[in-house]
Every structure is written in C-alpha cells, then in structure tokens.
Amino acid sequence: MKKLSVSLPGLEMKNPIMPASGCFGFGKEYAEFYDLSVLGAAAIKAATREPRFGNPTPRVAETHSGMLNAIGLQNPGVDQIMENELPHLQSYDLPIVANIAGSTEEDYCEVARKISLHPQVSVLELNISCPNVKEGGIQFGTDAATAAALTKKVKAVSAKPVYVKLSPNVSNITEMALAVEEAGADGLSMINTLLGMRIDLKTRKPVIANKTGGLSGPAIKPVAIRMIHEVSQAVSIPIIGMGGVSSAEDVIEFMLAGASAVAIGTANFVDPYICPEIISQLPELLEKMNVNHITELIGGSWKECGTPSLSR
C-alpha cells in the first residue's frame, strides 16, 4: 500500500482518501461500519464557538445526480467537540482535519486557537465557504481581501497548519486561492458546494426550508475538476480536491487535475463503505495505468504537456 501514501503539510497520509467535512459527523457512525484507521485522514464536522442547532427541516433535497443540503453548521460548539467528540478518535491511526467556522474574525480565531491545540487534530480547515448560514462562512469566502485577512489572523493563532476551504460560488476562484496563499495558507481544499435551489410543484415553494442549499454529489464533479485544474497551476500549496467523488476513477481524475489528496463527501451517504472500497481499488487501478506511485498523477493533466492553461 506504500504506493498510495501522500504527504501534505501536517498530514502524513497512508493513502490520499479522506471523508469530507460535514459528511462524516465526528466519525462515530462510520466506525460502526469499518476500522477508521484505513483512511488517509478524516475531516470532521465544522466547529463553531458556540453550539448551533442549524436550520429548520427539510434540510436536504435530491437533485439529478446530486443533492442540496442546508444543514446550517449544526454542531455542539468547539468546547464540547474537544471534550466529547475528539477523544474517541485517538483509538485510530488517523490524522484529523478540524473544520472551523464562525460569524466574526474573533470567532474563527478563538475556535482555531483552541482546537489546534488538541492532540488529535493534525490540521485546520478554514471554512469560508458554507453557503447555508447567513453569518459564518461565505461572507469571508467571496472577497479575496477579506479571505486573506482572515487567513492571516487564523494562521497567527493556530498551532497547526491551516487549509482554506474555497467556495465555487465566486467569479474568479484563482484570485481567491492566490490571496489566501499569499496570506499564509498551508493548503487549499476545494470545492465546497454550489449554491442551488429546488421548487416543489405542489406547494410552489422551495423544497428546502432555508430556500437555498449547497449542491453536492456527482453533478458538481466537472466544476470541481475545472477549478482544481486551474488553481493548481497558479498556486504552489497543495490542494485537497473534492466535489462529487464516488469511485477510484474519480480519485485519479481529481489527482490528474492537480489535487494532492481527495475528499469524499456525499458518496458516504449513499454507501457508508465507499471510502474503504475506493482505497482498496486504487492499487489495482494504478497498476493498470502503469503508475508506480500515486503522487506521480498529481497535476498530470497539465504537467505532461507543459503548457499553461488559459487563464480566465
């Protein structure tokens, strides 16, 4: 399995696969299905300073090859997470990516300072891209200067490397990526969900109580691939790629686009065993592709020809 190992700032992963934040709770549910130590890492549900209940239901709606969700960052707050949710993870050989969110810069810094000191946490994932809360994410994620300022502040207080999770709901994602790289981000994770809506023909109202929700699942994969392909050529920090990954072939595609590791989100809801299944399929797929080590694939879609892609 050595041919699957990847090394990113703060993350020594035995394979490039991790469940994505918000799709894995704090791991307890999936630990009933398999040994979490098989995972390369795991991103836990977003932590905020105070407990949050989240949005009213219905919170999810199915779409063609995807789903909308507007959970609203429900979580028991950073203190409870550190006390009650993180300890059980120490029984696994599993680097933890702690996703953090907030309403203000002070919120983010407080959560970052606290949770980065927890021994189970390997890196932070700065969530500036949740589309489902009025405050607590996206307002930091659509303006490059605001995102950079927040990144700098969080970096200053965090005891662990900081990855910034980017929103696809921007006109120029490379500009966002360059701004947070310049501000000191150790890595990027991309993409968060795309803002969407569904309307019920019977009630003539949006299906989701929050009206809008974040679109995820296979439907958004081409968007993620395009954005990673573009951003990975512009930055020198590694990218954790995500967006509709549901097979080992998808993982290869993300790495060819320029991702150094790959997170799996919605597919966990369809099949709780999806992460270990993909991990077990990767070696054979690499062999078929004549690849000695999975890191050879990173950026392979643009490195081979050596020509820079057209900038947008």
Binding site: G25, E32, R59, V60
Partner: protein, 257 residues
C-alpha cells in the same frame, strides 16, 4: 447493521400505489426489533442518488424473509416497484431503534394507531406484542377504501377500527375521530404516521403514555448527515435528536413535533 444485496422473492400492488415487497438475505436475521427501518438503493446509477428509507413491516427470522410495504410516489419508489422476483436490492440495515417491547406485561392492552404508510411497522409490532401475551387494538387511518391495506392481517392480531377521510371504509374522518367515538381501554399507545396525525393525537390525549415513530427526509440514515434532526421538548435550543439514529421511535412527548 450491514449492507447486503438481498434477493426479491415477490412484489405485488396490494392497494392503490401500495406495494408489498418481500426479500430474502442473511442480514434479515438481525431484524428482530419492530420499528426499525432499512435504507434501500433503488438504482445502481446516480439517478436517484440517495437511498430510500423503508419501514420493516414483517420479518420471518427463520426463512430470513423481510416484508416491506411502501407507497409508489416518486422516481425512487417507482424504480423499486419494478424490481421482480430473482433481482437483487442493495439494502442497508436494520437501522434506527425500534419500539420497546417490554414496557407492557402480559394481559395488558396496546393501542396501535397508524396513518397511511405509517401503518406497516405497526404490523410487526402487533405480532411481537401478541406473542408476548398482550392484547392488541389497532386503529388504522387511510385516505379511502382503495388506499387501505392489511386490515385482515391486523384483525388476526386483535380488534381493528378503520377510518377513511372520504368515509368509503369504516369511520369517516381521521383516526382521532375513531378514538373520540369508540371507548377503547388501553395501557399504552404506539403510533406511526404523518406528523400532523401524531400532533393531533398528542392534542387529543395529552396524558398519553407510549411511543411515536417519526418521519423526516433523510440523507444517510445512519446519523452522520444531520438532515433529519428535531428539537426536543424541555431542552436547550441547541438540543436535538436525529430521527434516523436516535429514533425513529421516541417516547411520546420527547420530540417537539
């Protein structure tokens, strides 16, 4: 709790748009608690993407046979209704927590109140409670006669009252009208149905003791996605339960309906 491709034994439409699906598989031997559910993948493509939660209507542990009743409503259940004998279905389960069976003692009476597609899990419950020596009284509500099902099967377990909204079968109106008209003595209430029905029951019988099984849109079905959360009565604003993994069965009064 595991994932298995179970084999379809039979499938038939037993009432208007109501299908009875019987499947066989090893995992079914674990389905001993009425009120639990299974999560079915109805297609191996991405359309539809998510699984469908279906309640457990009956289980024969010996032959590892599971009976499910579902209403063909959207694209997912339409696909499920096309499954034929010999085909397989990707089943995850059993999920959730079922009805407690030891709250009553032998000789006591359980009142089972079901509405529409909330009726099926009460059948397995009725059988299990009867086996434990309890008396069963069932009140089943449907839209109309053509939507009604399993009346005779419930009658094998005890007394049955039916209500239909249009009056084409039994009492005209709702299950609550049956409870108003009939003088039913019981020790514990078990109910499953639409939230409006459970709310009406709570309002009509404020001191009711027993259990409600709740419904909500689900994502994962295992407690990870936080799609199906509910507020709890008397808790902090941030307190919650997840219907899929903390429920779907809760003591009456626990969940804010």
């Amino acid at each position: 709790m595991k994932k298995e491709f179970v084999q379809v034994i039979s499938q038939k439409e037993i009432a208007h748009q109501i299908f009875e699906l019987k499947v066989q598989g090893e995992v079914i031997a674990e389905m001993t608690s009425p009120g639990q559910f299974v999560h079915l993948r109805v297609s191996d493509s991405f359309q539809p993407l998510l699984r469908r939660p279906i309640s457990i209507c009956d289980v024969d542990v010996e032959s590892k046979t599971l009976t499910m009743l579902y209403r063909k409503e959207g694209a997912g259940t339409a696909l499920l209704s096309q499954k034929r004998e010999g085909e397989t279905v990707d089943l995850l389960g059993p999920l959730g927590n079922g009805f407690p069976l030891d709250t009553l003692s032998s000789g006591q009476t359980a009142l089972l109140v079901g509405g529409g597609i909330g009726v099926p899990p009460l059948y397995y419950l009725a059988k299990q409670l009867k086996r434990r020596g309890m008396n069963i009284v069932s009140v089943l509500g449907f839209q109309s006669e053509q939507d009604a099902f399993y009346n005779e099967k419930f009658a094998e377990q005890g007394e049955v009252f039916i209500s239909t909204v249009d009056g084409s079968l039994g009492t005209k109106g709702f299950v609550t009208d049956v409870l108003k008209n009939e003088d039913i003595n019981y020790d514990l209430l078990y109910s499953c149905g639409p939230t409006v029905m459970l709310k009406a029951l709570e309002a009509q019988i404020p001191d009711a003791n027993g259990f409600f099984s709740l419904e909500e849109r689900m994502g994962c079905g295992i407690g990870a996605c936080f799609a199906c959360v509910c507020h709890v009565n008397g808790g902090a604003p941030s307190d919650y339960v997840k219907i899929c993994s903390n429920g779907p069965v809760f003591p009456i009064g626990r969940v804010a309906l």
